[in-house]
Symmetry: C2
Subunit: 194 residues, 2 copies
Amino acid sequence: MTPSPNPPRHDRESVALTALALLDEVGLADLSMRRIAGRLDVQPSALYWHFASKQELLADLADRITAAVPNSSPSVLSTARGVRDALFAHRDGAELVLSTYALQLGSSHAQEALATALRVEGAGDPEDRAVALLHFILGHATLVQQRMHADSHGALPATETVDVTAGLDRVFDLGVAALAGALSASAPPRRARA
Amino acid sequence: MTPSPNPPRHDRESVALTALALLDEVGLADLSMRRIAGRLDVQPSALYWHFASKQELLADLADRITAAVPNSSPSVLSTARGVRDALFAHRDGAELVLSTYALQLGSSHAQEALATALRVEGAGDPEDRAVALLHFILGHATLVQQRMHADSHGALPATETVDVTAGLDRVFDLGVAALAGALSASAPPRRARA
DNA sequence: ACCTGAACACCGTTCAAGT
DNA sequence: ACCTGAACACCGTTCAAGT
């Protein structure tokens, strides 16, 4: 009469969602396969039925994080902020996406959103600029997120932590504005004649 | 008659130099304290007399890598290339510096070199632009270096690997030129009146 | 001052075996 | 289809003890 004694308890998605929740709790450095398995009440080896490796699991998490960026925004700046905020939405999100990103062949959702916004604003070299913008956002967000974590654990002098964060917001806007500029920097400047 | 039986064999510098050489051989992921100790013919615990933790050793390596950027270059572009090439000089150099960087309070040699070059070229907001440039270079170099490693291990389709690398060089120059631009993007544009 | 030896509390991954 | 149990080859770090 009792139902089947060993119903499958998890699939690929439930494992990924649990891992993502655990990431927010413990951070990337402490996100081990054994911890994820523990949270799922399962042996570590069970995870390898759903994912071939930890790397594959992390890549899946990175995809979920970048999938959250809005696909069409009114401006390059708001699109860039959308990418950054998607990375900020999870602990160590920027570092995770950055360390996973090189494996895709350049066709990420974030990159496409940036390229589209650049085309709309009539920037030169929209594809190259989208890549440059993405590199800037990933580097910037990774450093900011690390700094936030270091601050919260007292690894840095607590003096003017607020000022530093405000300065970094200014740096982000400045970087995006520069990289979005319509001036085609790679074109020979002599063409611009009065 | 035999000399003192247990002369100290290593100091902080010899450990760091061995670790740096080993980094180039095995990469950051395989650079363990136990491997470094093995290369020095020493027990792993011996390393903790010279460095308080692996983190501290890695920070020392990152400092040595960034110390190699030329302190004065004729232009922002050549300074930026100097920073990038210092990161490229060691396997996973960009990732190592990026993951260590948040702990310094912004006074790195690389950042100062960029700020100086920006002031010479008369760019607006040289300090903020130096930070933005550094974030871009670190993000870009980290991704390029990861891609290079993935390529060499066949983790990516081998098609047009050369084109991708050439494209990334173009992206670097474009990004640097945009971020070095003399136009002060954060100043209120209304001030510019005829 | 510099290092050994042993231990502690962990890792990712594989694989036969169970249900 | 999904998971257990046990094993393999590793980690970073601490600490008493040696010389």
